[in-house]
Symmetry: C2
Subunit: 122 residues, 2 copies
């Protein structure tokens, strides 16, 4: 087992669709989130804004089954290779990276956020 | 043009091979690094440890030609889709994410770091 480096208790996680290899999102994990991800097989993160652990899909049902976790040469960043239920992005796009820098949309909307999250948004 | 959000002047950049779609590395950019990347078409970053701008490949020759830049829903993370010369990782592996959490190597070494960087390492 490698010794991961957490910075202020957190490590960045790149989330990649195991099949399409699209980058779906980027989030942060603390040690407990990594442990819960390994134990449960489902992606857990730590929300910096809400300052709490969360399981992807707990509200939307859009869980991420984690097939493999990779780490980088410095052991300070992770890749979760996942099977994504529904979509990764709360906007309804499959990937959070659905736009180029000029705002051009390059991904497809797969759900209506109002129906999934209700009118309050996420 | 979207308005990117920098945190302490920096934005995380996920680097993805445009052809294989492998995640090659993760690095940080400041506003100048993003500007230089867009202007030159080659990946630039900001080193947090050396506190300076750097162009990927400036020492190794392993440049990254940036074909497209994507941003996420929050506009606080980027993906550089690149054509990688040589390898992304200073260890000689094509991707920095060459190991699973238990240390199993899942990538292929494509160069000898001593020959590219000399004995001092990087």
């Amino acid at each position: 087992m490698l010794h991961l480096k957490f910075s202020d208790g957190l490590i960045p996680v790149i989330v990649q669709d195991a099949q399409s290899k699209d980058v779906l999102m980027m989030a942060w994990a603390n040690e407990e989130a990594v442990r819960l991800t390994r134990e449960s097989g489902f992606a857990h993160y730590f929300s910096r804004s809400r300052k709490k652990l969360w399981k992807k899909g707990e509200e939307s049902g859009h869980f991420q089954k984690v097939l493999r976790i990779l780490t980088d040469c410095d052991e300070d960043c992770l890749v979760y290779e996942v099977e994504q239920t529904g979509a990764a992005c709360h906007t309804g796009y499959r990937s959070c990276f659905y736009r180029t820098l000029d705002g051009t949309v390059v991904d497809t909307k797969v759900f209506d956020p109002e129906q999934v999250y209700g009118k309050k948004g996420h």
